[in-house]
Symmetry: C2
Subunit: 137 residues, 2 copies
DNA sequence: AACAAATTTGTAACCATTACAATTTAATTC
DNA sequence: GAATTAAATTGTAATGGTTACAAATTTGTT
């Protein structure tokens, strides 16, 4: 998605496309690195020296309300964000810390505990050791 | 599980069964209410007036290392714990805040992204509105 | 150009968690 | 069983991510 479309996409979702918002959404949707607020803040600081950490917080909060991003809370005190809002899983390597995406085609839930419940969001994550880290030792 | 067995269970998992540890594990495994540290602390304070919040933190950390409990991090700044370590899902009602357990019989993961990965922990949670809250309005 | 509204920014406050040293309790040795 | 050592518990202080808030800047409107 190029800059123009990025701006259009924000507008379409009821978000006024300021420079900061465009840059933050662009970062999230192109890097696909599941960053923390601080990662985004520090990386964007290079090209936007006046950027404030609070703006990154505010912007993510706004994006969440408008449902164009999702929050990943695998570990306490480490909130991450993802521009991919389609159902998919995350694998976090406990050794290198990297987060991998994987597709989910099907989840079979038992019986009828959730009958008549309204499910609005689904999150699945695995924790373990990735291929690279297993081979490296 | 009665007190005697509770103590045996901790021992079997390499945990010295102090009174505090027994009470905390007992609370978690019988109430099944997915409590936060503060909930456990405040509730147990009734019968153990000298209990320290730090002890609850320490104890949960120990239990996690020994893998007899699991951590639930659905929302940032709200870590909860569960003595049920078998694979199962959690549904959190965004209205009343209650957490429901549900069974999972099957998760179909796409292709081979996770081939040769070692998966040690699986977490699945849904967010939405529970039956009660949907009927109440 | 002047005014109003929205956004961004920086600082201070908040609060869950952790670090740490002191106290208490339990285990071990003589 | 008293003395010594080790482990667990406790309370307070420090840490750090997040939020509240007011000032400054930018954008939109008359």
């Amino acid at each position: 998605m190029i800059m123009k479309n990025m701006s259009e996409y924000l507008k379409k979702n009821g978000i006024k496309p300021s420079l900061q918002r465009i840059k933050i959404y662009e970062y999230l949707s192109t890097k696909k690195n599941h960053p923390t607020v601080d990662q985004v803040y520090n990386d964007l600081l290079q090209e936007m020296p006046t950027l404030s950490r609070t703006t990154v917080y505010n912007t993510f909060k706004l994006f969440l309300e408008k449902k164009i991003i999702m929050m990943i809370t695998i570990e306490e005190n480490e909130v991450r964000y993802d521009a991919n809002t389609k159902l998919h899983g995350h694998f976090k390597c406990e050794n290198c810390g990297k987060i991998y995406d994987f597709g989910i085609s099907y989840i079979q839930v038992d019986e009828d505990v959730l009958n008549d419940f309204l499910v609005e969001e689904r999150q699945l994550y695995f924790i373990g050791k990735c291929k690279n880290c297993l081979l490296d030792k």
